[in-house]
């Protein structure tokens, strides 16, 4: 068993970029939850961190939109956003191309993952890493699920992706940490920005913590769009991680809707022992 850490978190750009516009107590509690997640991550002493993300047209556009993609680069850079706007300085992150290649080869047996030898992180990865690996010294392997540009991959394939990724990580000798980042309900970058369906979020998180496959896969995209916004499509990342950590206890460590961050801010961890 080489999976040493697993967790989920939010990545909204407002979390860092608009932190001065939010209730200071909310900010302090959220940042404390991220710090706690970082302590657990560091205690697990990982060799590498796999990030299951839902990037937002930083690398993938409709000229060649993969349903799933894994990074295969020596190093990555980010954020693409204006550093002042996002509140995060530009930097580089070491990659782990050897392990990347083995994961890709393993995944290709049952999931048709694209691979990318270059990759610029957007807020979808840069915000979580800002809190979790502030020294930018832990090798990163980015993974992406298309949650932005329809036609989207169905939820059961996100589950299959998680299954295949979990199996590949388990077979690797490295100590692998994995996080998923996305959603949950939100209407970011629309006039509805700040709207959050807390009841929907709490129900989803209950299903996620229980690792309830049937209930996690029961959402249709039409329902998600209506009740959780287009940002809700990002539940695919949480679902993939749930499958990669089947049978392991999971807990929602923090949840708080913060409208100016345009999302119900979430931190959750899985007990991988």
């Amino acid at each position: 068993m080489s999976l040493v850490f697993a967790g989920v978190c939010s990545h909204g750009p407002g979390i860092t970029g608009r932190k001065d516009m939010a209730d200071p107590q909310h900010v302090a509690a959220l940042y404390a939850a991220f710090a706690q997640m970082r302590h657990k991550l560091e205690a697990a002493q990982p060799d590498v961190l796999v990030v299951i993300a839902a990037e937002h047209f930083a690398n993938f556009f409709m000229n060649n939109m993969p349903a799933y993609c894994l990074g295969l680069a020596d190093e990555y850079s980010g954020p693409i956003e204006d550093p002042e706007w996002l509140g995060i300085a530009r930097t580089t992150f070491p990659g782990a191309p050897g392990l990347s290649k083995r994961l890709i080869q393993s995944l290709l047996e049952d999931v048709d993952v694209a691979y990318a030898e270059e990759w610029k992180f957007d807020h979808g990865i840069s915000v979580p890493l800002h809190f979790l690996t502030p020294a930018c010294d832990l090798p990163i392997i980015p993974a992406n699920i298309n949650c932005q540009g329809p036609p989207l991959t169905p939820l059961h394939r996100a589950w299959a992706f998680g299954e295949s990724l979990g199996r590949a990580c388990t077979a690797a000798p490295e100590r692998i940490a994995i996080i998923a980042t996305g959603g949950i309900s939100h209407w970011p970058a629309t006039p509805d920005s700040g709207k959050i369906n807390e009841a929907w979020d709490r129900e989803f998180l209950t299903r996620w913590a229980a690792n309830d496959k049937a209930k996690l896969l029961s959402y249709t995209d039409a329902e998600t769009y209506a009740e959780a916004g287009q940002g809700g499509f990002e539940i695919r990342t949480f679902i993939a991680l749930a499958c990669a950590t089947q049978g392991m206890p999971a807990a929602v460590d923090y949840y708080q809707p913060i409208p100016i961050f345009a999302v119900g801010c979430t931190v959750g961890t899985v007990d991988v022992r």
């Binding site: 407002g14 970029g17 000229n63 956003e81 204006d82 610029k120 629309t190 920005s193 709207k195």
Partner: protein, 104 residues
């Protein structure tokens, strides 16, 4: 497929700081590479974020272009809300508003 070109222009600008500099120095040299109709071209020239939203530009693409055009966050959200009043709802894509009444 004109919306495709409009979005691709912003996609490439958003991820490439060198291209942003070139765009600021000589906009036409960039825009000539993308098929835009007259309304789209005007919206770009006017940096009319509200109209670009109505035309169907994906919010995750438009958000960064708005920042590049100097829009502060509340002004960016407000520009989209104002455009809904002027133009009606979004014409394409998945970024149509529900009620335009989110917080902030």
């Amino acid at each position: 497929m004109s919306l495709y070109g409009l979005q691709k222009l912003m996609y490439e600008l958003n991820r490439d700081e060198a291209l942003q500099s070139q765009y600021r120095a000589d906009r036409d040299s960039i825009l000539s590479n993308f098929k835009l109709d007259a309304e789209e071209r005007q919206a770009i020239d006017d940096e009319d974020i509200g109209l670009l939203y109505i035309l169907g530009v994906n919010g995750q693409i438009l958000m960064h272009f708005a920042a590049m055009c100097g829009y502060a966050w509340p002004d960016y959200i407000q520009a989209m809300r104002d455009a809904l009043q002027v133009h009606g709802n979004v014409r394409a894509g998945i970024y149509a508003t529900t009620d335009g009444q989110g917080a902030i």
